[in-house]
Amino acid sequence: MENRILLVTELGPDGHLKSSIRSLLAAAKALKGDTDVLIWGGDTTSALVEAQHLPGIHRVLNGSGATLAEGLAEMLCALVRPLARQYTHILTAATAIGKNWMPRLAALEDVAMISDVVGVESSDTFIRPIYAGSIWATVCCPESLKLMTVRTTAFPGVEGERTEPVPVENLPCPAAMPLSTRISVHTHAQEGRPSLENARVVVSGGRGLGSAEHYEALLGPLAEELNAALGASRAAVDLGYAPNDVQVGQTGKVVAPDLYIAIGISGAIQHLAGMQTSRVIVAINKDPDAPIFAVADYGLVGDLNLLVPELTAALQK
């Protein structure tokens, strides 16, 4: 039977398609089958045109309206569920939003789901990390509807645009439900910096930075020089050096930039889980035996308070 694949995207805060859709397209390509893209949001106008020009897809389903603006799990399930059984596979990125709504849909449809897919072996067999990425499990999913969140760092994005837009089907916007409402949002702006998910270079700081002031004063200028996003270990977030949404690791974000620079981070397995597939890893740490050096391509042993300003200064030249 031919696979029918639905990719559910997310829009960025600017209303444009997130680049993660390109990775979902790559996963869909590995599955092989007719692929539709579903976009949703309070106002999908800009994203709609972008979606219509994505390569290798059949049509775009468009869910636009006030009840979808907040991305609540209850509303997303109400949007996707009526269509679910038209598909053999529904994929979304393993983001906070995707991880929130997809298990809910799975239970409503009484199917098991697969989290954090990093590899597609066949249309029913997938690879996913468990135990903080220490182990990869190859899992067979016999459900007639396969629901999965995809770790986008594991699927290099499909490039290209189509010239002729694909057709759009507008979906009814689900009616409001009283179960949950969003009463406030607090977005942390990475002032002028690229986002952690898309940055080519990530500069991450840990407990070794010693204070929020040091974190910003030492890492800010270095990030600026490299046009890097800032990341952090859990310890740095817990201590208030950095906001929660930049935590890298098993229970934070997973990143795989071209260059990851870990500064004052020991390299606990939970941290490595979020960065060890980066192309090049640099570690700066005063402890020559810190486990981070085991995954670092280039290690620099010494006091970060001296080495980081020196590195920044050398780059400025």
Binding site: L179, D245, D297, Y298
Partner: protein, 249 residues
């Protein structure tokens, strides 16, 4: 108000998991097991609500083989009032656990279920959301703050862009993130007392739930290792290597 806290016993977070040589599973024999850290945070949240006079009873529940009773003893020592064990030797996948939890919820009628956001062994991050779906309750995952109100609960949740606050109608399901609280340690007298407390046993059959696994793990293996790197002796060498060898800057 009653709070139900599902807890799972997992490989301790300090131990690096290894695949069995034949790839049939994870080598766990003889290794230290602990409560899932997110479940300790969930218990702590429930116990604090009780201490604040906002909850009347905290019920801990674990599904699995006889060993999971150890986790329930820890939960009792930390301050859970009662413990329920759903006894099963089948591999319990998140959907099965969610169905067991649903059946227990229908018996116990809690106002709030607080789960961990993910179990650090299988890292599925599914169970709480599935339970909310089965009960048709609202859900707030990745909780960083919980504020009880009249017939509702406000939850600050960690998102990819910062935080947001959701207002849920009660009853509801919450899953915990790392920064919700810092769990207490069990004191020795409480650990001793917990040993004597009864654990109520249920079975999937009694609860009318089929728990057969849906997903089949074909094999497990350790991921490709990164080739060993080198230590460089100066910032200048580092930059030279990054430019000329790695070509990333």
């Amino acid at each position: 108000m009653k709070i139900l806290v599902p807890v799972k016993r997992v490989l301790d977070y300090n131990i690096k998991a290894r695949a069995k040589a034949d790839g049939s599973g994870v080598a766990l024999a003889g290794l230290k097991m602990s409560l899932n850290p997110f479940d300790e945070i969930a218990l702590e949240a429930a116990i604090r609500l009780k201490e604040a006079g906002l909850a009347t009873e905290v019920v801990a529940l674990s599904c699995g083989d006889a060993m999971v009773q150890e986790g329930l003893r820890t939960a009792l020592a930390l301050g859970a009032d009662r413990a329920l064990w759903v006894s099963s030797t089948t591999e319990l996948q998140p959907l099965a656990v969610a169905k067991l939890l649903q059946a227990v919820v229908l018996r116990e009628m809690p106002t709030l279920v607080i789960c961990g956001k993910q179990a650090i062994d299988d890292d599925a991050n599914q169970t709480g959301q599935m339970l909310a779906a089965l009960l048709n309750w609202g859900q707030a995952t990745n909780a960083a703050e919980i504020q009880m109100g009249e017939g509702r609960v406000d939850v600050v949740r960690e998102t990819d862009g910062g935080t947001e606050t959701l207002r849920l109608l009660l009853p509801a399901v919450i899953t915990t993130d790392l920064r919700l609280n810092e769990p207490r340690y069990a004191t020795l007298p409480n650990i001793m007392k917990a040993r004597k407390k009864p654990i109520e046993t249920l079975t999937p059959e009694e609860l009318g739930v089929t728990v057969e696994p849906r997903l089949k793990t074909l094999r497990v293996q350790e991921p490709p290792q990164r080739p060993a790197g080198i230590k460089v002796d100066s910032v200048a060498t580092l930059l030279a290597r990054l430019k000329n060898e790695a070509k990333v800057i």
